[in-house]
Amino acid sequence: MAILEIKNVSQEFGGLLALDRVSMTVEKGEIFGLIGPNGAGKTTLFNLITGIYRPSSGEVWFQGRSIGGLRPYRIATVGIGRTFQNIRLFKKLSVLDNVRVGMHSVSRAGFVSAMLHTPWAVKREKVTCEKSMALLKLVGLENKAIELAGSLPYGEQRRLEIARAMALEPSLLLLDEPAAGMNATEKEELLVLIRRIREMGVTVLLVEHDMNVVMNICDRIAVLDYGRKIAEGTPEEIKNNPRVIESYLGVEL
């Protein structure tokens, strides 16, 4: 069953066609890879799916409903979490608070109950805290809960972004180059983490340059080049696709 359908989507930036009639379907439960050279339009596609841009043309469907044109917070609320290629953490908030903000749409306490410290709000707060700690444990940051997010090393910041995105209990998780800047050990841990996330029932759409990571965990892969989809298939098929080798993978694979 399809969880995300991108139908003939184009995105133009003042004459530049960043995405050119791209279509793809992500199935529920899979890890779907999106690769392509720098400037191919991968991040732009993420921004389209999450409502930061409105597509110049085409449609985006999520779980059977059109989400094109919804505000980003609405799209997050219906169940699409994401991380950013250029890490966007709440730097001066604690690690725990970053995840707790991620739980915003899951918990409901409002202004009045918060100000008055009603027993209900206090209880919600406790639940939020426990769930957030569980997510920090998932990404291995449970001992850093009270540190400021901005003080974490790079690899941990990327993992914290994943925990924050998981906090909104998404059914689809978009990861934009999660392995960027990680060393070999961290990449290994990341592979384990992404597999665990899939086991939790979350579908993953992954943009990544590290071919080891991509070929290892993706069920299917789509390749973008100059805003166009030039190939789609299993890792084996992509590795052996002459067009992909020519435009992206080069000779070493």
Partner: protein
């Protein structure tokens, strides 16, 4: 209460204590907008004047009881806040700064030309209903509510907007709504502060609420530490007392504020208490105690 305090300090000091309380209410409002949510408002005095005039007019011309005037002052200021906040806060970028400067100036000119507001003469003979007990009672209530807000779900959402608006939206925060609500609460507090001010001095005029006053409130928040309640209170106390202590530099106040802020930006760019967290204080304290325990045990 007043009589009790006057046993220890003279009337002049009591007056400053009341003004500190009023300024804390004002500055906490601005802190919510600018310090916590990161939306630069430079017209806080404009909302204060709406509160002050609403309250003064209702009690002078319509004989309304003070409690009614106080509530109406807060609501009118918040209404004005929502009115200019909704179109402005939806836009990206710092339009709010420009719009609030312009708005406060318009408000000032309107009161300057309004008969019912006494034109340039202002209004005098406003019932003196504000006193120490009322002001500091309100300060305590407002600090408690504010603290409850900031350490819960909506408060964290406000901080997240300051930190990164795009990431806040991606986390499910309706940033426009939250910015408008923060602005409404902040301007409500400015209206309350204005009402208390009018009923304390018993005389108000448009000059009381000029651009310089807005800048002073901004200075209090920035000096103390953006987004921190203890910081804002500290900044307010310092900047309310300093001009009194330094009466001889009155003419150079602008210069003085400028120099103070530049010095601060160099030595404490996040304000006096802006980056001090209670949890770090506790950790440091635990470390110091741990060390002294360790050294005393190694001595023996």
């Amino acid at each position: 209460m007043e009589a009790f305090i006057l046993q220890y300090v003279d009337i002049y000091v009591l007056q400053i204590m009341v003004l500190i309380g009023i300024n804390i209410i004002m500055a906490l409002g601005l802190n919510l907008i600018t310090g916590v949510t990161g939306q630069l408002s430079m017209g806080h005095a404009g909302f204060m004047s709406i509160g002050a005039y609403t309250s003064a007019i209702l009690s002078l011309h319509y004989g309304m009881p003070f409690w009614f005037c106080l509530a109406a002052a807060g609501l009118m200021a918040a209404l004005a806040g929502v009115f200019i906040g909704i179109p402005t806060l939806r836009l990206e970028g710092d339009y709010l700064a420009m719009v609030t400067i312009g708005f406060a100036e318009i408000v000032r000119v309107v009161f300057l030309n309004l008969d019912i507001a006494g034109r340039g003469m202002g209004l005098s003979g406003i019932p003196a209903t504000t006193n120490f007990t009322l002001v500091w009672g309100l300060v305590i209530v407002i600090v408690l509510l504010n603290a409850g807000l900031l350490k819960s779900r909506p408060g964290r959402a406000l901080y997240s907007i300051r930190e990164d608006e795009i990431a806040a939206e991606a986390s499910g925060v309706n940033t426009t709504l939250y910015k408008v609500v923060a602005f409404a609460i902040g301007t409500f507090l400015a209206g309350i502060g204005g009402s208390l001010y009018a009923h304390y001095l018993t005389y108000i005029s448009p000059q009381d609420f000029d651009f310089m006053r807005s800048v002073e409130y901004l200075n209090m928040v920035v000096l103390g530490g953006m987004g921190s309640i203890p910081g804002t209170i500290l900044g307010t106390v310092i900047l309310t007392i300093l001009p009194e202590v330094l009466r001889f530099v009155q003419d150079y106040r602008l210069l003085f504020y400028g120099a103070l802020l530049v010095t601060l930006m160099i030595f404490r760019p996040n304000g006096l208490l802006g980056d001090v967290r209670w949890i770090d204080v506790k950790r440091t304290w635990a470390r110091i105690r741990g060390q002294s325990l360790a050294s005393s045990s190694s001595d023996s």
